[in-house]
Protein backbone atom coordinates (compact mmCIF):
# COMPACT_ATOMS: atom_id res chain seq x y z
CA UNK A 1 0.00 0.00 0.00
CA UNK A 2 1.49 3.34 -1.05
CA UNK A 3 2.07 5.58 1.94
CA UNK A 4 1.03 9.20 1.53
CA UNK A 5 4.19 11.08 2.59
CA UNK A 6 2.08 13.84 4.18
CA UNK A 7 0.57 11.41 6.66
CA UNK A 8 3.33 9.15 7.86
CA UNK A 9 3.79 8.09 11.47
CA UNK A 10 5.41 10.65 13.73
CA UNK A 11 4.69 8.34 16.67
CA UNK A 12 4.71 4.59 17.11
CA UNK A 13 1.67 3.03 15.39
CA UNK A 14 -0.49 0.83 17.59
CA UNK A 15 -0.11 -2.88 17.05
CA UNK A 16 -2.41 -4.68 14.62
CA UNK A 17 -3.38 -6.87 17.58
CA UNK A 18 -4.51 -3.93 19.72
CA UNK A 19 -6.33 -2.23 16.82
CA UNK A 20 -8.28 -5.39 16.07
CA UNK A 21 -9.02 -6.55 19.63
CA UNK A 22 -10.12 -3.36 21.41
CA UNK A 23 -13.15 -1.92 19.68
CA UNK A 24 -16.40 -0.07 20.26
CA UNK A 25 -18.88 -1.55 17.81
CA UNK A 26 -22.05 -2.05 19.84
CA UNK A 27 -23.85 -3.89 17.03
CA UNK A 28 -21.40 -6.71 17.75
CA UNK A 29 -21.58 -6.42 21.57
CA UNK A 30 -20.83 -3.69 24.10
CA UNK A 31 -17.60 -4.95 25.63
CA UNK A 32 -14.27 -4.11 24.03
CA UNK A 33 -13.50 -7.75 23.17
CA UNK A 34 -16.97 -8.43 21.75
CA UNK A 35 -16.54 -7.07 18.21
CA UNK A 36 -13.50 -9.30 17.58
CA UNK A 37 -15.21 -12.25 19.24
CA UNK A 38 -18.34 -11.79 17.12
CA UNK A 39 -16.64 -10.54 13.96
CA UNK A 40 -18.10 -13.40 11.96
CA UNK A 41 -21.58 -11.99 12.63
CA UNK A 42 -20.97 -9.18 10.13
CA UNK A 43 -21.39 -10.23 6.50
CA UNK A 44 -19.46 -7.92 4.18
CA UNK A 45 -20.34 -9.38 0.76
CA UNK A 46 -22.45 -8.48 -1.07
CA UNK A 47 -22.26 -4.84 0.05
CA UNK A 48 -23.77 -1.68 -1.37
CA UNK A 49 -22.91 1.91 -0.55
CA UNK A 50 -25.66 4.28 -1.65
CA UNK A 51 -24.82 7.92 -2.34
CA UNK A 52 -27.95 10.05 -2.43
CA UNK A 53 -29.58 13.38 -1.64
CA UNK A 54 -28.24 16.73 -2.85
CA UNK A 55 -26.03 15.28 -5.60
CA UNK A 56 -26.17 15.55 -9.38
CA UNK A 57 -25.12 11.91 -9.75
CA UNK A 58 -26.62 9.63 -7.09
CA UNK A 59 -25.29 6.08 -7.21
CA UNK A 60 -25.59 2.68 -5.56
CA UNK A 61 -22.06 1.33 -5.53
CA UNK A 62 -21.11 -2.31 -5.26
CA UNK A 63 -18.22 -2.23 -2.78
CA UNK A 64 -15.73 -3.99 -5.05
CA UNK A 65 -16.62 -1.60 -7.87
CA UNK A 66 -15.99 1.26 -5.42
CA UNK A 67 -12.61 -0.13 -4.33
CA UNK A 68 -11.50 -0.37 -7.96
CA UNK A 69 -12.69 3.16 -8.78
CA UNK A 70 -10.83 4.85 -5.90
CA UNK A 71 -7.23 3.73 -5.39
CA UNK A 72 -6.20 3.59 -1.77
CA UNK A 73 -3.11 4.96 -0.04
CA UNK A 74 -1.75 4.51 3.47
CA UNK A 75 -2.23 7.27 5.99
CA UNK A 76 -1.16 7.04 9.62
CA UNK A 77 -3.59 8.96 11.83
CA UNK A 78 -4.12 9.36 15.55
CA UNK A 79 -7.50 8.23 16.84
CA UNK A 80 -8.87 9.56 20.12
CA UNK A 81 -11.89 7.90 21.68
CA UNK A 82 -14.26 10.01 23.76
CA UNK A 83 -13.66 7.48 26.56
CA UNK A 84 -10.10 8.92 26.88
CA UNK A 85 -8.04 6.22 25.21
CA UNK A 86 -6.22 6.66 21.93
CA UNK A 87 -4.30 4.83 19.23
CA UNK A 88 -2.19 5.54 16.15
CA UNK A 89 -3.60 3.71 13.14
CA UNK A 90 -2.14 3.10 9.66
CA UNK A 91 -5.34 3.34 7.63
CA UNK A 92 -5.67 2.44 3.97
CA UNK A 93 -8.20 4.57 2.15
CA UNK A 94 -8.93 7.56 -0.04
CA UNK A 95 -10.16 11.10 0.60
CA UNK A 96 -13.90 11.45 1.14
CA UNK A 97 -13.61 14.68 -0.86
CA UNK A 98 -12.63 12.76 -4.02
CA UNK A 99 -15.55 10.40 -3.51
CA UNK A 100 -18.10 13.17 -2.95
CA UNK A 101 -16.86 15.28 -5.87
CA UNK A 102 -17.47 12.34 -8.20
CA UNK A 103 -21.18 12.62 -7.34
CA UNK A 104 -21.39 16.38 -7.96
CA UNK A 105 -22.84 17.84 -4.76
CA UNK A 106 -25.39 20.59 -5.47
CA UNK A 107 -25.24 24.06 -3.93
CA UNK A 108 -27.80 22.90 -1.34
CA UNK A 109 -25.44 20.27 0.05
CA UNK A 110 -24.47 21.77 3.42
CA UNK A 111 -24.03 18.55 5.37
CA UNK A 112 -23.20 14.89 4.82
CA UNK A 113 -24.92 12.12 6.78
CA UNK A 114 -23.55 8.61 7.23
CA UNK A 115 -25.54 5.49 8.00
CA UNK A 116 -24.05 2.21 9.20
CA UNK A 117 -25.23 -1.31 8.48
CA UNK A 118 -27.83 -3.26 10.45
CA UNK A 119 -27.85 -7.05 10.04
CA UNK A 120 -30.20 -9.15 12.16
CA UNK A 121 -27.60 -11.74 13.10
CA UNK A 122 -25.38 -9.12 14.77
CA UNK A 123 -25.70 -9.86 18.53
CA UNK A 124 -26.19 -6.23 19.57
CA UNK A 125 -29.01 -5.68 17.10
CA UNK A 126 -32.31 -6.58 18.74
CA UNK A 127 -30.58 -6.87 22.09
CA UNK A 128 -29.87 -4.09 24.57
CA UNK A 129 -26.89 -1.85 23.99
CA UNK A 130 -28.26 1.53 24.98
CA UNK A 131 -28.32 3.10 21.53
CA UNK A 132 -30.71 2.53 18.61
CA UNK A 133 -29.54 1.20 15.23
CA UNK A 134 -28.77 1.98 12.44
CA UNK A 135 -25.86 4.02 13.74
CA UNK A 136 -25.96 7.52 12.29
CA UNK A 137 -23.31 10.20 12.02
CA UNK A 138 -22.78 13.43 10.12
CA UNK A 139 -20.34 16.14 9.10
CA UNK A 140 -20.56 19.70 7.85
CA UNK A 141 -19.71 19.84 4.13
CA UNK A 142 -16.39 21.65 4.71
CA UNK A 143 -15.39 18.99 7.28
CA UNK A 144 -16.32 16.26 4.80
CA UNK A 145 -14.33 17.96 2.03
CA UNK A 146 -11.27 18.54 4.19
CA UNK A 147 -8.16 16.76 2.84
CA UNK A 148 -7.76 14.86 6.12
CA UNK A 149 -11.18 13.18 5.99
CA UNK A 150 -10.85 9.62 4.78
CA UNK A 151 -12.99 6.75 3.65
CA UNK A 152 -10.95 3.83 4.98
CA UNK A 153 -11.11 0.34 3.53
CA UNK A 154 -8.18 -1.34 5.22
CA UNK A 155 -5.42 -1.06 7.77
CA UNK A 156 -1.79 -2.19 7.84
CA UNK A 157 -2.13 -3.14 4.17
CA UNK A 158 -4.90 -5.65 4.93
CA UNK A 159 -8.57 -5.43 4.10
CA UNK A 160 -10.50 -3.78 6.93
CA UNK A 161 -11.13 -6.34 9.68
CA UNK A 162 -14.84 -6.72 10.47
CA UNK A 163 -14.48 -5.44 14.04
CA UNK A 164 -12.92 -2.21 12.74
CA UNK A 165 -15.85 -1.40 10.46
CA UNK A 166 -15.46 -3.46 7.28
CA UNK A 167 -15.71 -3.01 4.41
CA UNK A 168 -15.67 0.79 4.44
CA UNK A 169 -15.78 3.34 7.23
CA UNK A 170 -15.25 7.03 7.91
CA UNK A 171 -12.09 8.44 9.52
CA UNK A 172 -12.08 12.02 10.80
CA UNK A 173 -8.93 12.16 12.96
CA UNK A 174 -9.56 15.51 14.69
CA UNK A 175 -12.85 14.36 16.16
CA UNK A 176 -13.71 11.81 18.82
CA UNK A 177 -13.82 8.24 17.56
CA UNK A 178 -17.60 7.90 17.68
CA UNK A 179 -17.87 10.34 14.74
CA UNK A 180 -16.17 7.72 12.57
CA UNK A 181 -19.14 5.64 11.37
CA UNK A 182 -18.25 2.03 10.62
CA UNK A 183 -19.52 -0.34 7.93
CA UNK A 184 -21.18 2.40 5.91
CA UNK A 185 -24.16 1.65 3.69
CA UNK A 186 -25.50 5.12 2.97
CA UNK A 187 -23.93 8.53 2.45
CA UNK A 188 -26.45 11.31 1.95
CA UNK A 189 -25.80 14.96 1.15
CA UNK A 190 -28.40 17.26 2.66
CA UNK A 191 -29.31 20.81 3.54
CA UNK A 192 -30.00 20.33 7.22
CA UNK A 193 -27.72 19.21 10.04
CA UNK A 194 -28.10 15.41 10.39
CA UNK A 195 -29.24 13.77 13.62
CA UNK A 196 -26.49 11.60 15.07
CA UNK A 197 -26.86 8.53 17.29
CA UNK A 198 -24.68 9.71 20.19
CA UNK A 199 -25.86 13.30 19.75
CA UNK A 200 -29.34 12.15 20.67
CA UNK A 201 -28.28 9.96 23.60
CA UNK A 202 -29.31 11.12 27.06
CA UNK A 203 -30.98 14.29 25.87
CA UNK A 204 -27.92 15.37 23.91
CA UNK A 205 -25.92 16.65 26.88
CA UNK A 206 -23.04 14.20 26.63
CA UNK A 207 -22.08 14.00 22.96
CA UNK A 208 -22.32 16.79 20.41
CA UNK A 209 -22.49 17.06 16.64
CA UNK A 210 -19.03 18.54 16.25
CA UNK A 211 -17.25 16.37 18.85
CA UNK A 212 -13.90 17.98 18.10
CA UNK A 213 -11.15 16.66 20.36
CA UNK A 214 -10.83 19.43 22.96
CA UNK A 215 -8.97 19.12 26.29
CA UNK A 216 -10.80 22.21 27.57
CA UNK A 217 -14.31 20.82 27.21
CA UNK A 218 -15.01 17.99 29.63
CA UNK A 219 -17.48 15.19 29.12
CA UNK A 220 -20.13 15.66 31.85
CA UNK A 221 -18.90 12.52 33.62
CA UNK A 222 -15.14 12.66 33.02
CA UNK A 223 -12.29 14.97 32.11
CA UNK A 224 -10.96 15.21 28.53
CA UNK A 225 -7.68 16.81 29.50
CA UNK A 226 -5.65 13.59 29.39
CA UNK A 227 -5.75 10.35 27.47
CA UNK A 228 -4.25 6.88 27.69
CA UNK A 229 -2.34 5.98 24.54
CA UNK A 230 -2.92 2.25 24.29
CA UNK A 231 0.33 0.52 25.16
CA UNK A 232 1.59 3.29 27.45
CA UNK A 233 1.44 3.29 31.25
CA UNK A 234 1.12 7.00 31.94
CA UNK A 235 -1.57 9.25 30.54
CA UNK A 236 -0.57 12.00 28.17
CA UNK A 237 -2.04 15.47 27.66
CA UNK A 238 -4.80 15.57 25.05
CA UNK A 239 -4.13 17.96 22.16
CA UNK A 240 -6.64 20.40 20.71
CA UNK A 241 -8.13 18.85 17.53
CA UNK A 242 -6.09 15.75 18.39
CA UNK A 243 -3.02 17.65 17.19
CA UNK A 244 -4.44 18.40 13.73
CA UNK A 245 -4.16 22.19 13.94
CA UNK A 246 -4.79 22.53 10.22
CA UNK A 247 -8.54 22.20 10.91
CA UNK A 248 -8.66 25.10 13.38
CA UNK A 249 -9.66 27.54 10.63
CA UNK A 250 -12.89 25.56 10.04
CA UNK A 251 -14.04 26.68 13.48
CA UNK A 252 -12.72 30.24 13.60
CA UNK A 253 -15.05 32.35 15.70
CA UNK A 254 -17.13 29.36 16.84
CA UNK A 255 -17.83 28.84 20.54
CA UNK A 256 -16.47 25.32 21.01
CA UNK A 257 -18.04 24.99 24.47
CA UNK A 258 -21.48 25.58 22.98
CA UNK A 259 -20.83 23.59 19.80
CA UNK A 260 -19.18 20.63 21.47
Amino acid sequence: MTPNPKYVASEKPSSFDDITSYNNFYELGVDKEDPAAHADKLITRPWTVSVEGEVGKPQKWDIDELLRAFPQEERVYRMRCVETWSMVIPWDGFPLADFLKRHQPTSRAKYVSFESVVQQQMPGVGGYSGIPFPYKEGLRIDEAMHPLTLLATGLYGEAMPNQDGAPIRLVVPWKYGFKNGKSLVRIKLQETQPLTTWGQYGGGVEYGFYANVNPDVDHPRWSQAKERRIGELTRRRTLMFNGYDEVAKLYAGMDLQKFF
Binding site: Y22, E33, E83, S223, T234
Partner: protein, 197 residues
Amino acid sequence: MKQKLVPLAFVACCLPAAWLGMQFARGALGADPIAALLNDLGYTAFVLLALTLACTPLQLVAKLKWPLLLRKLLGDFCFFYASLHLTTYVVLDQGLNFRDIVKDVLKHKFIFLGMATWLLMLPLAVTSTQGWQKRLGFRRWKRLHRVIYLCSGLASFHFLLRFKTPRFETAAWMAVVVVLLLIRVFDALLRRSKRMV
Protein backbone atom coordinates in the same frame (compact mmCIF):
# COMPACT_ATOMS: atom_id res chain seq x y z
CA MET B 1 -17.11 -28.72 57.53
CA LYS B 2 -18.22 -25.56 59.35
CA GLN B 3 -14.70 -25.07 60.71
CA LYS B 4 -13.30 -25.16 57.19
CA LEU B 5 -15.91 -22.70 55.87
CA VAL B 6 -14.18 -19.47 56.81
CA PRO B 7 -10.65 -20.48 55.73
CA LEU B 8 -12.02 -21.83 52.44
CA ALA B 9 -13.96 -18.63 51.86
CA PHE B 10 -10.81 -16.64 52.67
CA VAL B 11 -8.88 -18.46 49.96
CA ALA B 12 -11.74 -18.10 47.49
CA CYS B 13 -11.85 -14.35 48.11
CA CYS B 14 -8.12 -14.05 47.43
CA LEU B 15 -8.39 -15.73 44.04
CA PRO B 16 -9.68 -12.78 41.98
CA ALA B 17 -6.80 -10.59 43.19
CA ALA B 18 -4.25 -13.33 42.55
CA TRP B 19 -5.69 -13.99 39.09
CA LEU B 20 -5.81 -10.32 38.11
CA GLY B 21 -2.32 -9.70 39.46
CA MET B 22 -0.96 -12.60 37.44
CA GLN B 23 -2.79 -11.57 34.27
CA PHE B 24 -1.62 -7.97 34.65
CA ALA B 25 1.99 -9.05 35.10
CA ARG B 26 1.73 -11.28 32.02
CA GLY B 27 0.20 -8.47 29.95
CA ALA B 28 -2.87 -10.63 29.43
CA LEU B 29 -5.51 -8.03 30.32
CA GLY B 30 -6.03 -6.76 26.78
CA ALA B 31 -5.10 -3.52 25.06
CA ASP B 32 -5.87 -1.31 28.07
CA PRO B 33 -4.82 -3.35 31.12
CA ILE B 34 -5.28 -0.50 33.58
CA ALA B 35 -8.88 0.02 32.51
CA ALA B 36 -9.45 -3.75 32.67
CA LEU B 37 -7.95 -3.88 36.17
CA LEU B 38 -10.15 -0.99 37.33
CA ASN B 39 -13.26 -2.64 35.91
CA ASP B 40 -12.57 -6.12 37.29
CA LEU B 41 -11.52 -4.96 40.75
CA GLY B 42 -14.58 -2.72 40.98
CA TYR B 43 -16.88 -5.50 39.81
CA THR B 44 -15.41 -7.92 42.35
CA ALA B 45 -15.92 -5.38 45.14
CA PHE B 46 -19.52 -4.86 44.05
CA VAL B 47 -20.28 -8.58 43.94
CA LEU B 48 -18.74 -9.01 47.39
CA LEU B 49 -20.90 -6.15 48.63
CA ALA B 50 -23.98 -7.98 47.38
CA LEU B 51 -22.79 -11.24 48.96
CA THR B 52 -22.19 -9.48 52.27
CA LEU B 53 -25.70 -8.07 52.14
CA ALA B 54 -27.09 -11.54 51.36
CA CYS B 55 -25.91 -13.16 54.60
CA THR B 56 -28.61 -12.00 56.98
CA PRO B 57 -31.45 -12.34 54.44
CA LEU B 58 -30.38 -15.96 53.86
CA GLN B 59 -30.75 -16.56 57.59
CA LEU B 60 -34.07 -14.73 57.75
CA VAL B 61 -35.65 -16.38 54.73
CA ALA B 62 -33.97 -19.78 54.43
CA LYS B 63 -33.08 -20.15 58.11
CA LEU B 64 -29.44 -20.84 57.19
CA LYS B 65 -26.91 -20.10 59.92
CA TRP B 66 -23.64 -20.56 58.09
CA PRO B 67 -23.88 -17.37 55.93
CA LEU B 68 -23.68 -15.31 59.11
CA LEU B 69 -20.27 -16.87 59.81
CA LEU B 70 -19.05 -15.44 56.52
CA ARG B 71 -20.46 -11.94 56.78
CA LYS B 72 -17.44 -10.28 58.38
CA LEU B 73 -15.04 -11.97 55.97
CA LEU B 74 -17.06 -10.98 52.92
CA GLY B 75 -17.39 -7.40 54.16
CA ASP B 76 -13.67 -7.14 54.82
CA PHE B 77 -12.85 -8.47 51.37
CA CYS B 78 -15.35 -6.09 49.78
CA PHE B 79 -13.38 -3.26 51.39
CA PHE B 80 -10.11 -4.89 50.33
CA TYR B 81 -11.13 -4.98 46.68
CA ALA B 82 -12.58 -1.49 46.85
CA SER B 83 -9.22 -0.34 48.21
CA LEU B 84 -7.32 -2.11 45.42
CA HIS B 85 -9.73 -0.47 42.95
CA LEU B 86 -9.08 2.96 44.50
CA THR B 87 -5.31 2.38 44.56
CA THR B 88 -5.35 1.41 40.89
CA TYR B 89 -7.19 4.63 40.07
CA VAL B 90 -4.89 6.86 42.16
CA VAL B 91 -1.56 5.23 41.31
CA LEU B 92 -1.88 3.58 37.91
CA ASP B 93 -4.61 5.54 36.19
CA GLN B 94 -3.92 9.03 37.54
CA GLY B 95 -0.19 8.56 38.25
CA LEU B 96 -0.47 10.03 41.76
CA ASN B 97 -1.44 13.38 40.26
CA PHE B 98 -3.37 14.61 43.27
CA ARG B 99 -4.35 17.93 41.73
CA ASP B 100 -6.10 16.11 38.89
CA ILE B 101 -7.64 13.61 41.30
CA VAL B 102 -9.14 16.34 43.49
CA LYS B 103 -10.48 18.08 40.37
CA ASP B 104 -11.97 14.79 39.19
CA VAL B 105 -13.66 14.11 42.53
CA LEU B 106 -15.11 17.60 42.80
CA LYS B 107 -16.14 18.05 39.15
CA HIS B 108 -17.45 14.63 38.22
CA LYS B 109 -20.30 12.85 40.01
CA PHE B 110 -19.08 9.47 38.83
CA ILE B 111 -15.74 9.79 40.66
CA PHE B 112 -17.29 11.56 43.65
CA LEU B 113 -19.69 8.64 44.16
CA GLY B 114 -16.84 6.14 44.09
CA MET B 115 -14.71 8.13 46.50
CA ALA B 116 -17.66 8.67 48.86
CA THR B 117 -18.42 4.94 48.86
CA TRP B 118 -14.89 4.04 49.87
CA LEU B 119 -14.68 6.75 52.55
CA LEU B 120 -17.95 5.56 54.10
CA MET B 121 -16.78 1.94 54.04
CA LEU B 122 -13.53 2.79 55.83
CA PRO B 123 -15.03 3.20 59.35
CA LEU B 124 -17.04 0.03 58.77
CA ALA B 125 -13.89 -1.91 57.93
CA VAL B 126 -12.06 -0.48 60.96
CA THR B 127 -14.90 -1.34 63.36
CA SER B 128 -15.68 -4.76 61.90
CA THR B 129 -14.16 -6.65 64.85
CA GLN B 130 -15.81 -8.02 68.00
CA GLY B 131 -13.54 -5.72 70.00
CA TRP B 132 -15.14 -2.70 68.40
CA GLN B 133 -18.62 -4.17 68.85
CA LYS B 134 -17.92 -4.22 72.61
CA ARG B 135 -16.33 -0.77 72.60
CA LEU B 136 -19.30 0.83 70.83
CA GLY B 137 -21.98 -1.33 72.33
CA PHE B 138 -23.98 -3.58 70.07
CA ARG B 139 -26.81 -1.10 69.46
CA ARG B 140 -24.50 1.72 68.34
CA TRP B 141 -22.36 -0.65 66.31
CA LYS B 142 -25.44 -1.97 64.51
CA ARG B 143 -26.58 1.56 63.68
CA LEU B 144 -23.13 2.50 62.35
CA HIS B 145 -23.00 -0.55 60.14
CA ARG B 146 -26.33 0.34 58.55
CA VAL B 147 -24.20 2.82 56.55
CA ILE B 148 -23.54 -0.14 54.23
CA TYR B 149 -27.00 0.47 52.75
CA LEU B 150 -25.99 4.00 51.79
CA CYS B 151 -22.77 2.56 50.37
CA SER B 152 -24.79 0.13 48.24
CA GLY B 153 -26.73 3.00 46.73
CA LEU B 154 -23.63 5.12 46.06
CA ALA B 155 -21.70 2.18 44.64
CA SER B 156 -24.64 1.25 42.40
CA PHE B 157 -24.79 4.70 40.84
CA HIS B 158 -21.00 4.80 40.51
CA PHE B 159 -21.21 1.50 38.59
CA LEU B 160 -24.17 2.77 36.53
CA LEU B 161 -22.27 5.86 35.38
CA ARG B 162 -19.07 4.03 34.48
CA PHE B 163 -19.70 3.22 30.80
CA LYS B 164 -21.13 5.33 28.00
CA THR B 165 -24.35 3.33 28.24
CA PRO B 166 -25.29 1.49 31.45
CA ARG B 167 -24.50 -2.21 31.40
CA PHE B 168 -27.22 -4.82 31.84
CA GLU B 169 -25.21 -6.52 34.64
CA THR B 170 -25.29 -3.31 36.65
CA ALA B 171 -29.07 -3.20 36.59
CA ALA B 172 -29.23 -6.92 37.43
CA TRP B 173 -26.98 -6.58 40.48
CA MET B 174 -28.83 -3.46 41.58
CA ALA B 175 -32.06 -5.46 41.50
CA VAL B 176 -30.42 -8.14 43.67
CA VAL B 177 -29.28 -5.51 46.19
CA VAL B 178 -32.75 -3.95 46.31
CA VAL B 179 -34.36 -7.35 46.97
CA LEU B 180 -31.87 -8.04 49.77
CA LEU B 181 -32.58 -4.67 51.36
CA LEU B 182 -36.34 -5.21 51.04
CA ILE B 183 -36.03 -8.51 52.92
CA ARG B 184 -34.35 -6.63 55.79
CA VAL B 185 -37.02 -3.91 55.75
CA PHE B 186 -39.82 -6.48 55.67
CA ASP B 187 -38.28 -8.38 58.54
CA ALA B 188 -37.86 -5.21 60.64
CA LEU B 189 -41.50 -4.25 60.04
CA LEU B 190 -42.65 -7.75 60.95
CA ARG B 191 -40.66 -7.73 64.17
CA ARG B 192 -41.99 -4.31 65.08
CA SER B 193 -45.60 -5.37 64.51
CA LYS B 194 -45.03 -8.51 66.61
CA ARG B 195 -43.76 -6.37 69.49
CA MET B 196 -46.86 -4.19 69.37
CA VAL B 197 -49.20 -7.12 69.90
